[in-house]
Symmetry: D2
Subunit: 353 residues, 4 copies
Amino acid sequence: MTMKKVAIVGASGYSGEELVRLLLNHPQAELVAVTSRQYAGQTLAQIFPRFANHPKAKSLRFTEPNAELLAKQADIVFLALPHGVAAEYAVPLLNGGCTVIDLSADFRLRSATVYKDFYAHDHPAPDLLPKAIYGLPEVYREQIKTSQLIASPGCYPTSILLPVIPLLRAKLIKSAGIIADSLSGVSGAGRKAELDYLFVECNESVRPYGVPKHRHLSEIEQELSLAAGTDVTIQFTPHLIPVNRGILTTLYLAPEKHFSTADEAKALNEKITACYHAAYANEPFVRLLDGKAFPDTKNVVSTNICEIAWRLDPRTGRLIVMSAEDNLVKGASGQAVQSMNIHCGWPETAGLI
Amino acid sequence: MTMKKVAIVGASGYSGEELVRLLLNHPQAELVAVTSRQYAGQTLAQIFPRFANHPKAKSLRFTEPNAELLAKQADIVFLALPHGVAAEYAVPLLNGGCTVIDLSADFRLRSATVYKDFYAHDHPAPDLLPKAIYGLPEVYREQIKTSQLIASPGCYPTSILLPVIPLLRAKLIKSAGIIADSLSGVSGAGRKAELDYLFVECNESVRPYGVPKHRHLSEIEQELSLAAGTDVTIQFTPHLIPVNRGILTTLYLAPEKHFSTADEAKALNEKITACYHAAYANEPFVRLLDGKAFPDTKNVVSTNICEIAWRLDPRTGRLIVMSAEDNLVKGASGQAVQSMNIHCGWPETAGLI
Amino acid sequence: MTMKKVAIVGASGYSGEELVRLLLNHPQAELVAVTSRQYAGQTLAQIFPRFANHPKAKSLRFTEPNAELLAKQADIVFLALPHGVAAEYAVPLLNGGCTVIDLSADFRLRSATVYKDFYAHDHPAPDLLPKAIYGLPEVYREQIKTSQLIASPGCYPTSILLPVIPLLRAKLIKSAGIIADSLSGVSGAGRKAELDYLFVECNESVRPYGVPKHRHLSEIEQELSLAAGTDVTIQFTPHLIPVNRGILTTLYLAPEKHFSTADEAKALNEKITACYHAAYANEPFVRLLDGKAFPDTKNVVSTNICEIAWRLDPRTGRLIVMSAEDNLVKGASGQAVQSMNIHCGWPETAGLI
Amino acid sequence: MTMKKVAIVGASGYSGEELVRLLLNHPQAELVAVTSRQYAGQTLAQIFPRFANHPKAKSLRFTEPNAELLAKQADIVFLALPHGVAAEYAVPLLNGGCTVIDLSADFRLRSATVYKDFYAHDHPAPDLLPKAIYGLPEVYREQIKTSQLIASPGCYPTSILLPVIPLLRAKLIKSAGIIADSLSGVSGAGRKAELDYLFVECNESVRPYGVPKHRHLSEIEQELSLAAGTDVTIQFTPHLIPVNRGILTTLYLAPEKHFSTADEAKALNEKITACYHAAYANEPFVRLLDGKAFPDTKNVVSTNICEIAWRLDPRTGRLIVMSAEDNLVKGASGQAVQSMNIHCGWPETAGLI
């Protein structure tokens, strides 16, 4: 197999660092450039001691980001930048012939109007929106193969979309009234020097935030609406919990079919199980939990796997679905590498197991 | 003011230890006995080094629990025992003239049938159920004054009942469809030598458990039904998170009145605010959060306070209410002491600030 | 007893917040002013929600620091400021007749030359150095009673001086070759928005820092030299560990008397025990651990207590002494309040238990 | 390259689980058996959900340990058992022709007398001691190639021996007076259901233990004595800190050559640097830290790397050396796999990067 040259723009944040980890050890990708305004001139080994024993860590230096130059150096460029900024780099990189895998929110939405509503500024490159594909491999695998611009999903959205989309498509649940209650580790806030994310402020603390209108709602509702074939509005509550990594999402869903007896519950459970198995039994990065097991972030941390479990509650008639993922891997950098693998025709699990 | 003699049966667990902390420093209560099968014969100082500088810590020794003896020693006895066991002690203690404040589930339910449904064994003392009062001071303050048997509420129930009861009583929300999503620190599991609660199994881990039928549902639904004047069935999902103490509950509620415009939301918000202020503005242990603040367990840990905040979501028409408490204080031992203070006619905050 | 009016300059850091906690509940002190450039105009309740239920929390507002004004408002002023800045406030406050209790390093050293060597700038008020007393009550109780300027010790120094000074004074150990290996919780770094102290950078991390010449060495060696009657130079290694609060220090000491048999060890151990009991048996805030117990930060967190245990190692001939304290209480704000109590003639434990 | 069949006896503890992780993904080793009395009959996927997506996780089942059977199934057997028990399995496995890599302490000591002194029972198979090699690859690489019985070092010893042995061999430090102060994550205590290791007992806690005579001293002193060519007795203090994994060791050493001026320190530092580079510049799993960096467990967790940094203190004349490793990888299972790689003639880093 041929190697491809890859670059990371914005390699000093937590998603960028995780991309570095994955790409340094990827069998087909050669990491040729990492950019960081803050660390330009320093080696990977100096900034990320944990990679210092890698043969490249002492030779590869952070550079100032320069899209024209990167377009000449790399076949594939990952953007790990804040929203609004990513688009600035995407345009010249695409023009230069690169495949762009963007980890920001800039190309996740199909509508520039929705973008403005949730991100509070005009979309910086609305012309590109029709060219972008939402990089959720379990849903858009075929389109990822051919798209030059892949918008990798957000961490919360991945933990919600993977469990809900198959149920909506199969009409097993109602599209109205969906509630997603999510718990995220602190790396989700990024590597930012802010008081709120100091150790002492987060340790021995649990708190909700961004209630009721978190930005990730826009892409979640877009994708759920596409799955349902109708407009979907959901309730979403994120919470910050004192772990480095991991998202645990608990979903409250209303089955289309009423159930209240044990037999009805059993029959419905079989349908849901069949639906999930049809969707995910062959997916390398979704783990359906059988029996009595519940998702636990510690079982997915540092992997690209999303765990899913479900329970029917005959007392309330609801379906409870729970998922766990690593926000920096399946929720960000691992999923982006998975998309790269698909796009390049490599084994989907290359560099991810 | 006269002093009362108090005893703790089952003083070696986390709730028992917290009772020791509170009662050692209580201005009106004199701690005269602490029992523990495991530690009988050893001093408080030996088992709980953190209290070792208290004048009593080297003289007060754990004893084998003996209800007849305790009935002679103490005016008030706290039971910090597993459910099913507490009732065994309550009977002779009540017969001996003690006031009993039970932290177990044994006397929280009015129905022995519901008890059996949720706790999987016959109620050990059904005759006492009519004599017990549910020890939630903000709801049952008057009854606590005169009852000889106070069933102190569970930790999760307190975090749910305090925010929901005023809204149900005021008919501001529907009694159907209530969802409570709760996050608890590990002390909630008790001081038990089980693999699941080892440091390595809980640290860097987040997980749901007890879905969908947790035992605490029985008392939550009993009290919500009383507040609503109709049968209430709720959805409740507990999660274990890596903090020592603290419960954060997020509630999903349906306002009786539809709202979708900003004006409607504002009007409804004023009603909810007024409802909460009417209920809690004078309560010493409820803190209503104004403005942009959200509950955070770190702001209530080691206090007897329950924080409450709320948000209306005009996109979904839902009311989101969030609460935070210390599971061992307002969720257990602090609330029990608050009941003692009320029962004895002492200042309600004695020993609790 | 008469009340005194107290103020805190620099009340928004972790030591300042801990002073607020202690002084709000102090029976003799009335907190009349808290200053913070950053939060001027906001109430205590807004900045520290955990105190919001205190009667004063909604009326007491942070102000810009103004020494002249504070000198009129308060009898006693606590300075919780960075070194170099504290001295600026101390001069006008002392001139205005206040007692000043300074938690910075500015007045801990007797020599302005040593100050410059360790703090890299000229001492801002060398004339005041002779007037200041080192606020370690177990050593300088008498002088604290009468001094108008009390330099409260650093967190690491307290954890080292309390265990070592009695042994040096009694000539039980050699003054040469002392090693102190200390582990500190992250609050010791202050409430500073720096990447190094983010949750993700500290959690699941343990690291030494400031090796080999930490600033606290200057005051440690000054006080040990005074105790030994000769110049003492020690080895000190601080480490950062993922807890909010707490310092654990392990000391490696050389007994003056050689021992290698069990009998010799027993005899020496009795002398050390007697030495410690003579020094601390009546001290309210030192806990000597008997038997098999070891210090544990969890047993001293949120208290003003320093735990001490010791072991002789006949294999190496060394004495190992271990101490634990809360860096924000006995290591900072609690000790400062203890000094205030002594200075004002109040019970030494007032507001501290 | 040919594949080898490998088995793990005692695969349900933390070291066993880490061996499972490493061996499932090893390019030359085929994991054919995992034993556990407790979990016999269950699949890897059931007990360790984190590995459930591995192709083997649903087919490979835990079995009761049976040395005779294992000897037929496997070429190489890892023993992850308590000391005293490992030897029982080693004998029949060796007789059956297997290579045995033992992670317990049973074969680390050359003297059965020293074993009895530290482990308090007779050595269970003293005849085997001369056949065993201490599996520290950086010291015994050649012997590991040919030995059928490899005694993999303890976690603390590895963190001490790697930094100290080169200095002793080069006569740069004195062999007397060595002090090792170590901090370990809680997984070092094993997966045991004991109160001391509950989340609530370890979180927000730091404590020394096993002072002054920890069992690991026996192997540390044996190996240091061999390096020094004379008997070495050291001081060793372990502490428990609230992280899952990682050991940080701080060593206090006395250089042979006195230094007090900056020039002398510089010259000595160059010698030490040269010594370390000669020993480790080509070692794949030792990282010598240059410049201002200090070891940090977060940079080595889940890797087989040991980080080392050093500082000379001209004030005290001491050399401070600090190391960091993952107690379960370089301190246990990773090092055992490294030995297997060497023994089998595979690339030393196979399955470890």
